[in-house]
Symmetry: none
Subunit: 180 residues, 4 copies
DNA sequence: GATGAATGAGTATTCATTCAT
DNA sequence: GATGAATGAATACTCATTCAT
């Protein structure tokens, strides 16, 4: 790719990540283009449809989360760390939240695929703890992802007045997963 | 208010409750008016804006939940029952879910007020258990409402393939609230 | 229908007929609305889609043509008169021309139906002459419609410099249909 | 012009001829460039605008038709052969059809000039027959071109279900030109 | 000389709200 | 008092053309 195209694409992806993170999947292409300082047409040159751009941004976020999660596999306390890591990313990225939020409801196959990737790595994190009997036997990776997302969802509106509510809620949910 | 106006209003509220419950806050005024068998203009005569109508419907749903919750106060296992009751209502009423779901993000003060009422009764439910040391000391009524909503949120997309996922997730969260 | 709606609809249909006649099926809804002195939204209140409006306008033109053609059935020289009548209407109505022009290519079922109606009445006009051996045996109603449309098509670009070219071309084609 | 530029231009013209023939004047510059294996910018280096390219391709097609028509001049049955030849070329070349089809409506002077060349050779074909009294006295070369194009236009939408409709319609028109 | 990256005007449709009937 | 007719802002995507690389 040419140097100028690389620059433009970087600016576009950064702008899209920021705008999507702030406004969610409903952000308009016009706003993203303006934020990136490029024309609307240029957005479509790099990503044929808005959904492709969305999937790329969500994919980047999932990539980051998956990469970090890989390092947790096998760790003591890996599950709690994974949940807190996930919640932290969700807190800074509304579109990732939107994506996880709509598993099954969302008909965009590319976004759906990202959620599956995340559920897969979550399963690798949760499996050892489950096999060891530390957490309940019926907890799958997808459950962890969904519940962490739910905890974030519950915490988000309160974060302005209680900064650590996200961590607190994740702790509640984590505690609830442990074998009794 | 004249008797016919009362009848019209009743039909409108019933139609709005049904349509909002099914389609969520995005339901159109036109659909509600058609369902009520009245004109769109009449909707706006009774409620100045769509948000006012929305708040009234959410208020009714919250009234119902609050009334049921009142009866639970003092019961053994009141908290679990409250959470399951709330989750069940959320599952059957998309607009209630939407409303609770968007606390904070939603700038509609009237909707916000309903959540506060719900948090208040939840606090009355949770206080005895907390004082008795059965659940964690830092759990307030609002936390219970938010987390129950989060559990439902997490479960909703999976409900189609796993019907009892809602109950399972509420159980997880409930377990997480207990004092360790 | 209310009196004001009737007025608006009339203005809309008149404007659409004029604009479609001048600019063909590619005319924009915005132009039609402006011409009618109404808002774009009002167009869609009366006709759910642009194609519905288009079909209505084409339908009106076909209605007119069909009604006039009915009177010709059985007349001496009915076929020639039908062809000249059709050509005259086409000359004043670009969208009717567009509609006939795209039989088979046009995927709009409502427009297609109008062409079928026209072919049907043309068949009633042509059948007696064909049965009487005055015109060739392989000439169907649809052929007459298509060929008249073709004659107009051929004539249209020259009409500015040779006003009666349309009639002349229709005469050529009519002569070509006669049994040799 | 350098040798490589000549090669590029040849590839471009060949690609444009093919794509325009298949897709008509609405074909995109991008598709033509891709087909030619060159960049879009290069297209505009050789032809300042898309219309210039279009005119060149139409000009080539007209050249071909004119050359073939030259050989018909003086032949017995030259007019019928010219009309069938023209119709056959139109059937296989959508852009030629588009160009002839829009004479007058089309404001592109370069395209218009090609039609004039075609009308001129048609006149040379038709003049002997007209002077001999075989065809009507008021038939000029331009009429033949226009009517043949109209016949093809009339036939085109039906060609899918009746393959030889084009020939049939041309025969009708040819018959119509004969002196009665 | 060649490339292809960037541009941005143009368009059908929805829906909360207002106001003439 | 009730109606529903009218409004118009808001949004994704295409493609001929220009110009930096």
């Amino acid at each position: 790719m040419r140097a100028d195209a690389v620059r433009t694409r970087k600016a576009l992806v950064a702008a899209a990540a920021e705008v999507f993170a702030r406004s969610g999947a409903d952000a308009t292409v016009a706003e993203i283009a303006a934020r990136a300082g490029i024309g609307k047409g240029t957005v479509f040159r790099h990503f044929p449809t808005k959904d492709d751009l969305l999937a790329a941004i969500v994919g980047d976020a999932v990539d980051e989360l998956v990469a970090k999660a890989e390092h947790l596999v096998g760790h003591e306390d890996a599950l709690r760390e994974f949940m807190q890591l996930t919640a932290a990313l969700l807190a800074g990225n509304r579109v990732l939240f939107d994506a996880l939020d709509r598993v099954g409801a969302d008909h965009r196959p590319q976004v759906r695929a990202q959620v599956d990737r995340l559920a897969a790595v979550a399963e690798r994190v949760v499996a050892p703890a489950r096999d060891a009997g530390v957490i309940r036997a019926d907890v799958r990776g997808l459950d962890v992802v969904q519940l962490t997302c739910g905890a974030h969802h519950a915490a988000a509106p309160l974060a302005a007045v209680e900064p650590d509510v996200g961590q607190r809620y994740v702790d509640f949910v984590f505690a609830g997963l442990r074998a009794s």
